[in-house]
Symmetry: C2
Subunit: 412 residues, 2 copies
C-alpha cells in the first residue's frame, strides 16, 4: 500500500472537519482507496496549538506548491481571494484540487475546469452544492444519458430553517433569524444567507453542470427572504402552498436559460414542500428519467467534510483526470431576463375597500384566484394565471386600489 | 472520434428503451463520452421486423462473445438463466457488462464483481435499484468517506402505487391491484411485486454495497403487502403513520446485519411518508453525513434505460476497470435473525370485549399505546414499546383475548 500526500488549505469549520474525517476514518478509507492518505500540511495563518496534528500546520503556501509529493490539495479557505490564485497555481502545477468553495466555483469554475483538463488532473467540488448530499457527481454521471431541462431546489439551510420556524411555529422573521444565529446556523451578518447570495452561487454551479455553460452570479436575479411576512405564510397555507427560498434554472427552447433565486410558493404535494429545517433538496428534471430528488443536510462541519473527503478519495483512486465535469463559457444573452418568461405570481396588497379592490383586480386580471382569509379586512391576496412576468406585473401595477404590494413567484 | 461497439442482450421493455435512448441521444452522448457508441448487435430470440434497426438483431450469443470489437455488453434479459452464464462469459472475455437485472446481481453479484476485477473491466448495475434514480454510484463514491450504518427505502413502485391508492382513496387492496394491472404497473402474476421478492433483491444489493458483504435473497426475511387491510391503513393514519413496503438493512455493533422486507408504519413526518404512487426513495445513514435520500421513478422503460445507458457511457469513458464497486462474500451468521433485534410493533386484533381485552393487553405489555377508532367495536389496535421482536410477539400471543392478530413493524 502506497502513501498519497495531501494538503488542506484552511482550518475553519469545514477544514477541521476534513482533517477529522480523514484521521478518524483512516483505516476504512485506506481499505477503499487501496492507498494511505497522509495529511502532510495544513495551511492556516492562525495557530492551533494543542491539537494532535499541530506539527502539520504551515503558513507558507509555496511549501505546498513546490512539494511534488503533494498530489491532492483541499481548498476550504472560502472566499475568492486568495483561494482562486492558490487553486489555479496548484492545478497548473499538476495537482488535483478538491474544494467546498461555492463562491470560487461560481466565479471561476469554467476557467479552473479548463486548466484541470489541460493538466490532466481533477478539479472536484461536490461539497459546494448541498454539503454532504451527493448531487453534482450523480447529475454528471448517472443522469448523463438524459437531456436535462430544469433544476431547482432548496439550496440554503439557514433560510430554510427560518422559513420552517415561520411556517410551523408562526415565528416572525426577526425572531427566527435570531434563533438561527443563536443555534449557530446563521452568521452575525446573515446577508449571504437571507439575501440569497449563497443560494445564487449554488444555482450557478447546478445550471452550469446541467446545461453545460457557465453562469455567473451577477447573471442570476437574486431575491432573499427578508420581506416574507407571517401574513404571506398564512395566505400560502390557506391556498395549499408553503413558501421556500428556491434556486431555479430552466432550459428554454432556443438553448438559452433562466436563472433565479427567489422565495416561491410551492404546492404542499411537491416533494420540496416537506423539506424542513436545515435540510436541503435538489430536484433535477430529465427527458428520460423524469423527476429526481436528492435530499439531506446541506451544510454543517461533518456532512460537508465527508463530501470533500469523498472527492479526495476519488482523486487518489484516479490520479489522472476523470474529465467528467466540464462546462464551457456562455454566450451573450445566454441567461435571459426572467421577466420575459411565463410564470404565475402571488400578490398581497393593502386595500381600503376589499370589494372595490377585488372588482378592479378582476377587471385587470380576469382569472385571478383570491385567497380568502377572514382575519384580514384591509388586505387582498390572490394568485394570477400563467402569463409573461413583466406583463403580469404591469397589470398588477395598473390596479390603483392596491397599496404596499408584495409579489412572490408560484412554482407549480 | 472513435466508435465503440456495444451489444444489447434482450429487447423487452428495458432493452428497447436502451436502444431508443442510445439512438435518440446519439449526438449528445457522443459529445459527452467523446466516442460514438454503435449498437452492433441486439440479442433476442424473437423477431422484430419493421424497426429502423431490425438488421441488428441476432439470435446467437456466440456472435457477441467472439466479436473482439464489442467492448461493452448490456444485459437486460432479466431472470438468472441464461443471463448469469452470458454475463460471466462476457466478463471473462474482457468485456464490460451493464445490467438492470436485480435478480442476477442479488444472486451472483459478489462472484461477477470479482471476475470483473480480475479482468480489469466494469460490471455496473445502477439501474438494478431505483430504476433511473442515481443510488448505487452516489453511495459508493460520494458517501465513501462515511461509515454507513443503515439503509432503507421504498424499493418497489407497484406496491407503493397500491398502498397509495389504499391510503389516499380508501381503495381495497384487490381493487388497487386490479387498477395497477390495468395501468401496466403490475404483472398478470403480481407475486414478485406484492409478495416483496423484487424489493428483497434490491435490499440485498443495497446492503451489500453499504456494508461490504454479499447478502443473498434467501437470507432476507421477506413479507409482502397482501395482508394489509383498509383497517390497518386507517389505524395507522389515526396514530400519525402511513403504511409503506420497506426494504431495510442495518449494521449491528458486532459487524453483523439485519435485512428485511416488510410493510411498516412510517411516521408522517418522515421523508419516506410523502413518497407516493410509483415513486421510489432510498434513505442512507452515514456517521458523518447523517440522512441522505434519493427519490424518483423507480421503474419504467425510459427512466431505467437512461440509468443503463449512463453506465454504458461510464464504461466507454473508462474502458479499463473503475473498481469502485466491490464487495466480499459474507460469513456464517452474517445476517442475523431479525426476531432477535429490538423494534416496535403495531398490532390489530379482533376481540369479544374491548375493555377486557385492553386490560389484558396492559397486563402483558404495560406501555402499549392504544389507537382509538370509534368506528370499530370488536377490534383493538395498539403499538408496543421497543422490545426484542420475538419477546414482543410472545407477549402478544399470551393475550388469549386477541383473535386473528395482525402484526406490522413500526419504523421510527
Amino acid at each position: 500500500m502506497e502513501t498519497v500526500n495531501v494538503a488542506v488549505m484552511g482550518h475553519g469549520v469545514v477544514g477541521s472537519g476534513v482533517v477529522e474525517v480523514l484521521l478518524s476514518h483512516e483505516k476504512s478509507i485506506a481499505k477503499k482507496v487501496k492507498n494511505e492518505i497522509n495529511v502532510k500540511y495544513i495551511l492556516d495563518l492562525r495557530d492551533f496549538p494543542g491539537l494532535d496534528y499541530s506539527d502539520r500546520f504551515i503558513k507558507d503556501f509555496d511549501l505546498i506548491l513546490k512539494d511534488d509529493s503533494i498530489k491532492v490539495v483541499v481548498e476550504v479557505m472560502g472566499g475568492v481571494h486568495p483561494a482562486y490564485e492558490f487553486v489555479k497555481a496548484c492545478l497548473e502545477a499538476g495537482k488535483s484540487v478538491c474544494t467546498s468553495n461555492k463562491e470560487l466555483v461560481a466565479a471561476h469554475g469554467a476557467e479552473l475546469l479548463k486548466i484541470a483538463g489541460e493538466k490532466n488532473v481533477n478539479f472536484l467540488f461536490e461539497a459546494s452544492v448541498g454539503g454532504g448530499i451527493p448531487v453534482l457527481r450523480p447529475i454528471a454521471q448517472c443522469l448523463s444519458a438524459n437531456d436535462l431541462y430544469e433544476v431547482f431546489g432548496i439550496l440554503n439551510g439557514t433560510t430554510n430553517f427560518i422559513l420552517t420556524k415561520m411556517i410551523k411555529e408562526n415565528m416572525a422573521f426577526d425572531d427566527a433569524l435570531a434563533l438561527a444565529q443563536q443555534l449557530g446556523y446563521a452568521e452575525k451578518n446573515p446577508s449571504a444567507d437571507v439575501d440569497g447570495h449563497d443560494a445564487c452561487r449554488k444555482i450557478c454551479i447546478l445550471a452550469a453542470l446541467c446545461f453545460g455553460k457557465h453562469v455567473y452570479p451577477e447573471q442570476v436575479r437574486t431575491e432573499g427572504i427578508t420581506k416574507i411576512t407571517l401574513a404571506d405564510v398564512e395566505y400560502a397555507d390557506i391556498a395549499g402552498y408553503v413558501i421556500k427560498l428556491i434556486g431555479h434554472s430552466k432550459l428554454l427552447e432556443d438553448g438559452k436559460i433562466t436563472a433565479d433565486v427567489y422565495p416561491a410558493l410551492i404546492p404542499k404535494s411537491n416533494q420540496l414542500a416537506g423539506v424542513d429545517d436545515v435540510f436541503n433538496a435538489v430536484m433535477v428534471r430529465g427527458d428520460a428519467v423524469g423527476d429526481v430528488l436528492f435530499y439531506g443536510r446541506g451544510a454543517g462541519k461533518l456532512p460537508t467534510a465527508s463530501a470533500v473527503v469523498a472527492d479526495v478519495m476519488d482523486c487518489v483512486k484516479h490520479l489522472s483526470a476523470r474529465k467528467y465535469l466540464s462546462w464551457d463559457d456562455g454566450f451573450d444573452g445566454y441567461v435571459v431576463d426572467s421577466e420575459s418568461v411565463k410564470t404565475r405570481l402571488y400578490v398581497r396588497a393593502e386595500v381600503d375597500d376589499i370589494i372595490d379592490a377585488k372588482s378592479n383586480v378582476f377587471a385587470s386580471i380576469s382569472d385571478a384566484e383570491f385567497i380568502i382569509n377572514p382575519d384580514n379586512n384591509n388586505e387582498v391576496a390572490f394568485i394570477t394565471p400563467v402569463g409573461v412576468e413583466a406583463e403580469l406585473k404591469e397589470k398588477i401595477a395598473s390596479v390603483k386600489q392596491l397599496k404596499n404590494v408584495s409579489v412572490l413567484h408560484v412554482l407549480d
